[in-house]
């Protein structure tokens, strides 16, 4: 089951970096898997897709290329959103430094893309 694979990828990410929880979401906002607690994850997923797709459209208008990441910097926590292949995105929540979790997120995103596209079946 893919769900087991997603669960492992996110728990590995949380073990490797200072990540509180993460969400895997389709590019158009459907929740695929979430390790976040006390969050209405389906609605959160829709917001995350809006963030990334809005950033993509904005960057496209500027002819500035594809955004590598979107960071929402809050008082207590940060949301970092990156693409995970052409069909999904990965969002992680951290209380620490957004840049420090980025590399670990990239690795996780690659694995998510492989699972989603069935490359590791």
């Amino acid at each position: 089951m893919k769900e087991e694979a997603y669960k492992k990828i996110l728990s590995d990410l949380e073990a490797e970096a200072n990540v509180e929880g993460s969400c895997i979401v389709s590019r158009d906002g459907i929740l695929i898997y979430s390790s976040l607690k006390d969050v209405y994850a389906e609605a959160f997923a829709a917001m995350l897709a809006t963030l990334l797709s809005s950033a993509e459209v904005a960057m496209d208008e500027l002819k500035a290329g594809v955004p590598k990441k979107v960071i929402v910097d809050g008082k207590n926590r940060k949301i970092v959103v990156i693409g995970a292949g052409s069909h999904a995105l990965l969002a992680s929540i951290t209380e620490g430094n957004a840049d420090e979790i980025y590399e670990a997120m990239i690795k996780a995103a690659k694995k998510i893309d492989e699972v989603l596209s069935g490359k590791n079946d």
Binding site: D28, I30, A46
Partner: protein, 386 residues
């Protein structure tokens, strides 16, 4: 007629005549007991006798499975559990009906007959699971036993439900299995984006339902829901999309600034046995580039229009065109306002004579569930056509 309690499946099958046998051929990995539990519970509630053969887990665990859905089976004195598990692991059983020789299919037959004689005819018999009993009693021997059981219980007016995990059995065994049952329903996982299960009727010898499909998810404690992972709500600015979503869904999450929607809104619709995730996409023309990105995997679309503003209909049609050929319903909103165009006028004005249009007043909740049901029907038609 017996019902499964899964309304769409019952509609396809037209109910199950008494005495028929149904096998749910379930892909490994799907939690197999849940479907039979639903069918059994539905019929227990209606006062029918229920016999549950527990071969894979203890009767206590069966009770627990029911309880996960908020169902307390101790309240049903019309339920009889056959314990085929305790003797298998060498544990004492607290049940009244016990399979003494779990490696002999005749031992199961004896207990079933004993119960039917005691409680009388009419009801539902559940095998959980046939594949497990085949492993223990031998494939050929079990199938011969099943042939006898189907014959005996049919005479007593029992409908039999078999849970069967589709391990890779020999073709000869599968061939015999296909002949043994009146109906075969295949259950497998669909994982395009969101994991859910699909039922497909492979055979039903009393009706023309072969090939009919439905997609569902099992939620605890709510139970089985026909599941639609994404329906998009689109339409021009201020047509009433947010109000429409709010009126049909729970857990609605608006994204409003200064009275206008500026991001994707989300709500979950729970209506009858359906559950759908609804995504509202902002209607201002400047958000149109987002439609391509945010609407892509929708299973259906609500196009919400303000019925008093014909000058916006062209824009509305352009929005719809971005979704290609997918099921849609036009929600003709604000029917309470003076000058609101009616369904037939809208078809003409929009140049969509075949369109499904539902007149609504979303602010009062009028017509919104009619629109939902119409769209769900179209989505299921599309699934069955594909």
């Amino acid at each position: 007629m017996i019902e499964t309690g899964i309304s769409k499946l019952d509609e396809y099958l037209g109910g199950i005549p008494e005495g028929k046998s149904i096998i749910f051929q379930i892909e490994p990995g799907v939690e197999e007991s849940n479907i039979a539990i639903h069918v059994l519970y539905h019929n227990l509630k209606k006062g029918l006798n229920g016999i549950y053969i527990a071969s894979e887990s203890s009767p206590k665990n069966v009770e627990k499975k029911f309880r996960e859905f908020g169902w307390e089976i101790k309240n049903f004195n019309n339920l009889h559990i056959i314990d085929g598990y305790s003797s298998l692991i060498g544990a004492p059983s607290e049940e009244k009906f016990v399979v003494e020789e779990p490696h002999d299919i005749r031992s199961y037959e004896d207990v079933i007959i004993e119960i039917m004689e005691k409680v009388g005819g009419g009801g539902v018999l559940v095998f959980d699971s046939l594949s497990n009993i085949m492993d223990m009693c031998g494939e050929r021997e079990t199938l011969e036993g099943i042939e006898r059981i189907n014959r005996d219980v049919a005479k007593e007016g029992y409908t039999t439900i078999y849970n069967f995990i589709s391990w890779p059995y020999k073709e000869a065994i599968l061939y015999r299995l296909r002949r043994l049952f009146n109906a075969i329903i295949e259950v497998r996982t669909v994982e395009d984006v969101v994991a859910r299960q699909r039922m497909e009727i492979k055979k039903a010898d009393w009706c023309q339902a072969e090939g009919k499909k439905l997609e569902f998810k099992i939620f605890k404690p709510e139970g089985i829901r026909i599941y639609i992972p994404k329906i998009s709500v689109i339409g021009p600015y201020q047509a009433g999309k947010t109000t429409f979503i709010k009126s049909i869904s729970r857990n609605f999450t608006p994204v409003e600034r200064l009275g206008a929607t500026v991001g994707v809104e989300h709500g979950t619709v729970d209506y009858k046995q359906y559950r759908a995730e609804i995504f509202g996409i902002p209607g201002q023309e400047r958000f149109l580039p987002l439609l391509d990105k945010l609407g892509s995997s929708s299973k259906g679309v609500f196009l919400v229009i303000d019925s008093t503003k014909p000058h916006e209909f062209e824009l509305a049609k352009n929005m719809l065109a971005k979704f290609g050929d997918i099921p849609y319903v036009i929600v003709a909103n604000k029917q309470d306002l003076p000058g609101a165009l009616r369904k037939d006028e809208l078809k003409n004005k929009m140049g969509l004579p075949e369109a499904e249009i539902v007149e609504t007043v979303a602010s009062q909740g009028k017509g919104v569930y009619e629109a939902f049901e119409k769209l769900v029907e179209k989505i299921l038609e599309c699934l069955n056509a594909g």
